[in-house]
Symmetry: C2
C-alpha cells in the first residue's frame, strides 16, 4: 500500500486521501496523477479529503501543486469533502489554496467539473464555428 | 483518520480501501456503509481494492459480509481493481468471495451496476404492469 489509488471515471480522475501524507507518497501521487491525466486525456481531478482531520501546510501545498500541474495539462482540480475544522485551520495557516476549486461533496464536485467541461466545450465549438466562417 | 470515507455518487456508494484493515475499522466500515445505504436508498456499492497487495481471509470475509449486508438492504456490491496476485491468493486460500460481483476497474463496475439496476427497474415496471391488468 505504497501508492494512493487513482480511480478513473470517464474524463474524471478520483483520488481519496485517507492516509498520512509524507514526502515520497505525495511525490508518487503527483507523478501518478500527471501520468494518468496525459495517458487518458482526463479533464478533471477530484480529490476527496473528507478523511482528513488536519490539513497542514505540507498537504495544502501538495493540493495547490496538484492543481497547478493539472491546469497546465488542461485539467481542472476540485477538492471535495473538506471538514469545517480544516477550513478554519487552512485560513489560520494563511493557506487559501490558490487555483484549487472546492465543493462540499463528490456529487457537487462532479457537477462543478461538468459545468467547467461544458463551458470549455462550448468555447471549442465557438472556435470551430469561427474557423468555418 | 479512523474511518474509511464513503463517497456517494447518485445511487452508488464508492469505497476505496487503502489502509490495513483491522477489526474495529472493518466494523465501522460495515456500520457506516449500511447506515448510508438505508439513509440514501443506495442501490450499489463499489469497493475498490486496487491498493491492496494482499487480501487475507479477514478481508475476504469482510468483503463477503459487506456484500451480504448490502444485499439484504437491496443493494448490489461490486469489488473492483483486484490485482492478479490477489486473485491467485484468494483462490489458494479457498476464498471464492460468494455473493460478491467483481469488475476490473471502477468504470466497468459502474457499467455492471447500471445493468443490474436497469434489470431491477425493468422487473419493477413489469410488476407494476401486472398490477394494472
Amino acid at each position: 500500500m505504497e501508492r494512493i489509488p487513482i480511480l478513473r471515471m470517464g474524463q474524471v480522475l478520483l483520488v481519496t486521501i485517507q492516509v498520512d501524507m509524507h514526502d515520497r507518497l505525495a511525490l508518487s501521487l503527483q507523478e501518478d496523477l500527471t501520468e494518468k491525466i496525459t495517458r487518458h486525456g482526463s479533464k478533471g481531478v477530484l480529490i476527496d479529503i473528507s478523511a482528513l482531520d488536519i490539513v497542514d501546510s505540507f498537504i495544502g501545498r501538495m493540493l495547490a501543486n496538484i492543481a497547478g500541474m493539472a491546469r497546465v495539462l488542461d485539467a481542472t482540480t476540485v477538492v471535495v469533502g473538506m471538514q469545517p475544522a480544516v477550513a478554519i485551520t487552512l485560513v489560520e495557516l494563511g493557506l487559501s489554496l490558490p487555483g484549487v476549486r472546492t465543493a462540499l461533496d463528490v456529487e457537487r464536485g462532479v457537477v462543478l467539473l461538468q459545468r467547467a467541461l461544458s463551458a470549455n466545450a462550448l468555447l471549442v465549438e465557438d472556435e470551430d464555428a469561427d474557423d468555418e466562417e
